[in-house]
């Protein structure tokens, strides 16, 4: 086990190296560089652009160097904990991301918990009472959440919350509390704002979860060992949770690897619509402005989380189902 984890850790290195190259390529792929988008932005304002100065900046930012050279500078920096510099913010990347990370985690965790709290009971209910009114009803609701584009739902909820409850539009807290230390009033204000993103992001994922839990459970419920459990006199619900549910979690566990990065990256589009101070919008704007180190380092962080997440997921799988061997490959 320990050996296995160690081996996987070693394997992470090449994976991360490849990812870093890919990330770099992706960021470099769009033509132009940060300065060009900076110029475009100035032009959009109607500001004048001084060509000589741009040339100077180009050198200053190292855009005159070859991509390979820049790549190695960047990766080399990350090894010593230097994640580079955000052009747009004129700040080290860590300083830019720092504050937002916490809020992102708050929103994402709330959403994930919301999703699970809803999806699991409903999924189980739907599977055990297949084709009951409840099953249809929940399915309908869940799919509704799925079928309405997130941004639209966000917009509508945000608007209605403002009209009905006077909640300030967008953001995670009333503007009056921004930058203030935490207080009860601020906390309440956060709660007032938090439900919208949680519902919007949550509903989108819930339907998927519900339907999949239901499908997997329906398959498992037929198995002989469920009958065995019933024959023991186990309460149907306990039997369900202990046997078929555990088996049907396979799909869920195998994908938790993507959960970790999702927690950090957050639902970008919704975050933009709702103007949440999370990392999602930051990443998007960094990408659009080709603020490459900001975007790149953030993406690298995500990829590290993915790799760790996949490892956790593999270990959890082996724990969940003893038939699955950690090493995966070894045949009987």
């Amino acid at each position: 086990m320990v050996y296995y984890i160690f081996r996987r850790m070693l394997m992470m290195i090449p994976t991360l190296v490849i990812t870093s190259a890919l990330i770099f390529a992706i960021i470099e792929a769009p033509p132009g560089d940060y300065l060009e988008s900076y110029i475009a932005e100035l032009k959009a304002q109607g500001e004048a652009v001084d060509t000589a100065r741009i040339e100077y900046l180009r050198k200053e930012y190292g855009f005159d160097k070859s991509p390979v050279e820049r790549y190695f500078n960047w990766v080399g920096g990350m090894f010593v904990g230097d994640f580079g510099y955000s052009f747009a913010y004129e700040l080290p990347v860590t300083a830019v991301v720092g504050d937002r990370l916490f809020l992102t985690v708050v929103v994402s965790m709330a959403t994930i918990i919301f999703t699970w709290l809803i999806a699991f009971p409903i999924g189980i209910y739907s599977a055990t009472r297949q084709y009951s009114w409840g099953d249809y009803g929940f399915t309908f609701l869940g799919l509704l959440g799925l079928a309405i584009p997130n941004f639209l739902l966000a917009l509508v909820l945000m608007y209605l919350a403002n009209v009905w409850f006077g909640t300030s539009i967008g953001g995670l807290v009333d503007p009056a509390f921004v930058g203030q230390p935490m207080s009860w009033a601020k906390f309440v204000s956060v709660l007032h704002h938090l439900w919208i993103p949680v519902i919007v992001i949550g509903t989108a994922g819930t339907a998927g979860m519900i339907r999949r839990i239901r499908a997997n459970l329906l398959d498992e419920l037929q198995k002989q060992y469920v009958t065995t459990a019933r024959a023991k006199g186990l309460h149907p619900f306990k039997a369900l949770v202990k046997y078929p549910l555990r088996m049907s979690l396979n799909f869920f566990i195998s994908d938790i690897g993507s959960l970790l990065p999702a927690v950090i990256s957050g639902a970008e589009v919704v975050a933009i619509v709702l103007s949440l101070e999370t990392t999602g919008p930051l990443l998007i704007s960094a990408l659009q402005q080709q603020d490459m180190y900001l975007a790149g380092s953030f993406l690298m962080f995500l990829s590290l989380l993915t790799v760790v997440g996949v490892l956790i997921s593999d270990i959890a799988l082996a724990w969940l189902d003893p038939r699955i061997r950690l090493s995966g490959g070894v045949r009987k």
């Binding site: 990812t19 584009p149 941004f151 799909f251 690897g257 589009v269 993406l299």
Partner: protein
């Protein structure tokens, strides 16, 4: 022997039924029909019993048929602008005017521009009765861009209007645009679902079944792909796709590429399922028979969680139909003149629409219906394939 003392001895009884060794070979007609029927027919019988699935199936069939004849169904052309009816609210269909039945009709609008808040105000004028025309000759259109015609199932009254779902900021009929939008929404997006499904199953299947090096490599590949959030990828892709492609081709390309990148979650699920399932004896049995790995994976293992796959696929459909809205958000989606439900919704994506022109949100309805229909249809399929039913 060990009978309790208080029990009576069991009498030796013999049934008077004669012994018929061939009893097990006697079938009723229903049974015969059953075992003679082909697999597909059996599935169909089972499917048929699931009413919502059946209805959904019919609904989808009708919908897909409708995209063949959008031009005939829509009261207006896709691009028809009615500049005197910008942001007109929906017109209700009435049957009775002043208590008198005159068939389906709408009331015409009185229009006034409110200079105070620059709002276009429309008031139904109860005098202007505009009966709808059916099987009529309406605005000219080019059927699939091929030949010109003017026959429509329903048209507004001569000189009248018929905006059952209102109009947008250029005075275009929302209903007609929804009808035309189905062409794109019901087709292109689904391709991505297909691609990712196939990839997920194949790669996950092979990784789970073979294990070993293939598994290790594919898992690393998945890690790499999962590390890259979709949005930067889209942005990069948008940059890579030749700018000279037409938007529809670009969109097509992006959906395919989306599919090419979206299989990882499924692949991991498939893999982990197979890792467990491949230990079953029926896999050994198939191996002993000489079945190829492909056969084992696809005939024996994958059907074992068809339910999961069907659920995944049906859930992915709305994501793909609506995927373009996210793409549009980043400036990559479809764009006018191409119209899809996603485009329509993207256009409704501002506070003005929500607060002032809520009818612009109608395109969400067909999306919901299609999603529901696909899900119930999927349910029906699931049941039809379920041996325990």
């Amino acid at each position: 022997m060990t009978l309790p003392a208080n029990a009576t001895r069991l009498p030796h009884t013999v049934s008077d039924q004669p012994f018929d060794p061939d009893a097990i070979y006697k079938y009723t007609d229903a049974q015969k029909a059953l075992f003679e029927a082909s697999q597909l027919r059996l599935m169909w019988w089972k499917f048929r019993r699931h009413k919502p699935a059946l209805i959904s199936g019919i609904f989808l069939a009708v919908l897909y048929f409708s995209i063949l004849i959008s031009e005939l169904l829509a009261p207006y052309n896709l691009e028809t602008r009615n500049s005197s009816h910008i942001y007109a609210p929906p017109q209700a269909i009435h049957l009775f005017h002043n208590g008198e039945f005159i068939g389906p009709f709408v009331y015409g609008f009185d229009y006034k521009l409110n200079m105070e808040n620059l709002k276009r105000e429309y008031v139904p004028n109860l005098e202007k009765v505009q009966p709808l025309r059916f099987f009529c000759s309406g605005e000219k259109y080019k059927f699939w861009g091929l030949f010109e015609a003017s026959f429509r199932f329903v048209c507004p009254a001569e000189k009248g209007t018929m905006f059952l779902l209102g109009t947008d900021r250029l005075g275009r009929d929302v209903l007609s645009r929804i009808i035309y939008g189905a062409r794109i929404s019901l087709t292109i997006g689904l391709l991505g679902v297909g691609v990712s499904l196939v990839l997920g199953i194949v790669i996950g299947g092979m990784a789970g079944y073979y294990g070993g090096l293939f598994d290790v490599l594919s898992q690393r590949l998945i890690e790499v792909i999962q590390s890259l959030p979709s949005i930067p990828l889209w942005l990069a892709l948008a940059a890579i796709l030749p700018i000279t492609w037409s938007p529809i081709v670009v969109y097509f390309g992006i959906t395919v590429i989306l599919g090419l990148l979206d299989w990882t979650g499924l692949a991991r699920t498939v893999r982990s399922k197979l890792l467990a399932l491949r230990e079953e004896d029926y896999v050994s049995a198939a191996q002993v028979m000489g079945a190829s790995s492909r056969r084992i994976v696809f005939r024996h293992l994958i059907p074992g969680f068809a339910s999961h796959l069907i659920a995944t696929a049906t859930i992915a459909i709305p994501t793909m139909i609506l995927g373009e809205t996210t793409l549009s958000f980043l400036g990559l989606g479809l764009r006018a003149p191409i119209t899809s439900w996603g485009v329509l919704l993207t256009e409704a994506q501002n506070i003005n629409a929500v607060a002032l022109y809520p009818w612009l949100l109608w395109p969400v309805l067909p999306v919901i219906l299609v999603v529901l229909a696909y899900n119930f249809f999927g349910d029906g399929l699931r049941d039809a394939a379920d041996p325990y039913k």
